[in-house]
């Protein structure tokens, strides 16, 4: 398991390759999810600022990843999440899962994402010419947890 919380950008492709390189050929299925800063519908997002809770963040991510490993047959799990100032198009975070079964790899990645959205202490703020707004949590993200 590798949990990374950092301000610096990360290279999604290099991380995916490094993750897969650790594989022992027992895990035929590798899934990655990468989150990218979306521009607003109005197209005027200047900066996305991501605040987090140092200490709790790592604990929460580790707990979520450990739970995923106990629920599915996983060879390895990777979680990377950035904080600080990001621009549209920047990668915010990624998760990766390796498993002998594609269903497990997919489900575990979705589980990680669902919990990461609503149970890891990150808060997003969108900054435009018009001002700054904290992103509101979505009911659908909270609801997504009920399926697990």
């Amino acid at each position: 398991m590798r949990i990374v919380v950092q301000e610096a950008p990360f290279d999604m492709g290099a991380e995916a390759n490094a993750f897969a390189a650790g594989d022992d050929a027992a895990n035929g299925a590798i899934v990655t999810f990468t989150g990218v800063v979306r521009d607003l519908a109005t197209g005027d997002l200047d900066v996305m600022e991501i605040e987090h809770y140092p200490g709790m963040t790592e604990r929460a991510l580790t707990k979520i990843a450990t739970e995923a490993q106990s629920r599915w047959s996983l060879g390895d799990v990777l979680v990377i999440h950035r904080h600080g100032r990001l621009a549209p198009g920047d990668r915010i975070m990624m998760v990766a899962t390796a498993s002998p079964h594609r269903k497990d790899a997919f489900e575990a990645a979705e589980y990680l994402m669902d919990y990461l959205k609503s149970r890891a202490p990150f808060w997003k703020k969108e900054i435009t010419n018009a001002g700054a707004d904290w992103v509101a949590a979505k009911d659908e993200d909270e609801d997504a947890l009920s399926r697990w």
Binding site: E51, A60, L116, P121, W123, A137
Partner: protein, 81 residues
């Protein structure tokens, strides 16, 4: 006890962290105590359904007892990912 604030809770209260001497038995008691201090606290804590609380870096709830807790954090629902 360390009390931490994040996101708009931090902005409304005007600081990220403070030491609080309190005999509050539960999180709710602490919230009431802080809210009584100044308007900015009362404003931040006006709607508890819009807030989350962590005790020693674990998500908890407003009924939870504070005995033995060293770090309390208040923040809005999380928006990671």
């Amino acid at each position: 006890m360390d009390v931490l604030y994040f996101a708009w809770v931090r902005e409304r209260i005007g600081l990220p962290k403070e030491k609080v001497e309190t005999q509050a038995a539960t999180v709710s008691d602490l919230v009431a105590e802080l809210s009584a201090r100044e308007d900015r606290y009362a404003a931040a804590f006006a709607d508890l359904s819009a807030l989350r609380v962590a005790l020693d870096q674990e998500l908890s709830d407003f009924d939870a007892p504070l005995s033995g807790v060293r770090e309390v954090a208040f923040f809005p629902p999380m928006t990671g990912g």
